[in-house]
């Protein structure tokens, strides 16, 4: 059951490179947070870095990059439902009379 040594060595090298990238991206995301960017830019940058890190973990540590099509079908359906979970409740904010007030101070 042992895989070829050369093939596994290549895998090991990739794992160490991904580890280095994840560590650098972690330091980067913290550094960017201290720049105190406007909220929209801060959210966009933080989530972009988190998505890159997440993709690295899923692609290489979880081997999604070489996984079978069936897994992508399951995850694709999952992603669609996840986006629905995020987007459908958020539609309430487009309701024209929506507003939050506490002691006369608007939340928007």
């Amino acid at each position: 059951m042992a895989s070829s040594s050369h093939e596994m060595d290549k895998h090991l090298k990739v794992y160490y490179i991904v580890f280095g990238c994840l560590a650098v991206l972690t330091v980067l995301t913290v550094s960017v947070a201290y720049l105190h960017l406007p909220i929209v830019a801060a959210v966009a940058v933080a989530l972009l870095i988190a998505c890159v890190k997440g993709s690295l973990v899923a692609s290489f540590f979880m081997h999604l990059i070489s996984e079978r099509r069936l897994i992508f079908v399951i995850l694709g359906l999952c992603l669609f439902l996840f986006l629905m979970l995020l987007l459908v409740p958020s539609l309430t904010f487009f309701e024209p009379h929506y507003s939050t007030f506490v002691n006369g101070v608007s939340g928007r």
């Binding site: 059951m1 042992a2 895989s3 040594s5 596994m8 895998h11 090991l12 794992y15 160490y16 991904v18 580890f19 994840l22 560590a23 972690t26 330091v27 995301t29 913290v30 947070a33 105190h36 909220i39 801060a42 959210v43 933080a46 989530l47 870095i49 988190a50 890190k53 997440g54 973990v57 899923a58 540590f61 979880m62 079978r68 069936l70 897994i71 399951i74 995850l75 359906l77 999952c78 992603l79 439902l81 996840f82 979970l85 995020l86 409740p89 958020s90 309430t92 904010f93 939050t100 007030f101 506490v102 101070v105 608007s106 939340g107």
Partner: protein, 260 residues
């Protein structure tokens, strides 16, 4: 008595193309995405809809960013050791694989210890809102945060937090009659703290669950390896998939709560 072997626990199933354990684990992870997805969705709704002044501008105002950063690196390192454990078993090196499993287990323990110190700091840190303003840092304020030293029916004694670059203020005695609200930074403090404890608490429980499985593999590994090495390798792979998912969740939790 006859024994029935569980089918396709090593060789791939003809329909799915993978062994049953791995397929089952991916279905489980899909359900986990929906669980955390629902909670993230709740977080976004609560945050966007929060009235002005009720949500911290920056998580770093309340949470310990250096500890969160260290924990992120610890969890990433544990993911690497987990995948190295699987790779070692694939290369027929059980001893090395077991060491990497142990390293993963220990790193998970380090993560939980750091998280526990963060939780402890929140539960021993207090906020007092008062009716009549009191003098603090040369200003009249109606909100004081710090550490409590004494609580009686008549008054509380608090050491207020120091302002950066200034000396630590002296202890203050505040009459009970003047207190509108006295709370620590636990889940009841605010919606922000409630969502923080819910999501990080659930994530912490996932870490504990993973540790139990890794401990099981550490203890039963030697006998399973001698009987069926391929089966042990597959079990470590499935545990690894779960562990990387737990790491992935933290990768999103960290910026959302600590940095934004």
């Amino acid at each position: 008595m006859s024994t029935v072997a569980i089918p396709y626990d090593i060789e791939p199933h003809p329909i799915t193309g993978m062994y049953n354990g791995k397929f089952g684990l991916w279905l489980f992870l899909a359900s986990e995405v929906m669980l955390f997805g629902a909670l993230f969705s709740t977080y976004i709704l609560l945050r966007v809809g929060a009235p002005a002044g009720t949500w911290p501008h920056h998580g770093s105002e309340i949470l310990d960013v250096p500890k969160g950063t260290i924990n992120t690196l610890v969890l990433i390192a544990s993911s690497v050791s987990m995948v190295l454990a699987w790779a070692s078993l694939k290369m027929n090196n059980f001893a090395k694989g077991r060491v990497f499993l142990l390293v993963t287990f220990l790193l998970a323990g380090v993560f939980l210890v750091i998280k526990a110190t963060e939780y402890y700091a929140k539960f021993t840190h207090y906020q007092i809102d008062v009716k009549t303003p009191v003098l603090l840092h040369g200003e009249k304020v109606t909100r004081i945060t710090g550490h409590l030293h004494e609580q009686t029916d008549e008054h509380v004694v608090i050491t207020p937090d120091a302002v950066k670059g200034q000396e630590h203020p002296a202890e203050m005695e505040i009459e009970r009659d003047n207190i509108v609200r006295l709370t620590n930074f636990g889940p009841q403090h605010s919606t922000y703290m409630a969502t923080y404890f819910t999501l990080t608490g659930l994530h912490g429980l996932h870490i504990v669950g993973g540790m139990v499985v890794i401990l099981f593999l550490l203890l039963t590994g030697p006998s399973m390896w001698s009987k069926n090495p391929a089966k042990l390798t597959n079990r470590v792979e499935c545990t690894g998939l779960y562990w990387h998912f737990v790491d992935l969740v933290w990768i999103f939790l960290f910026p959302v709560f600590y940095l934004l």
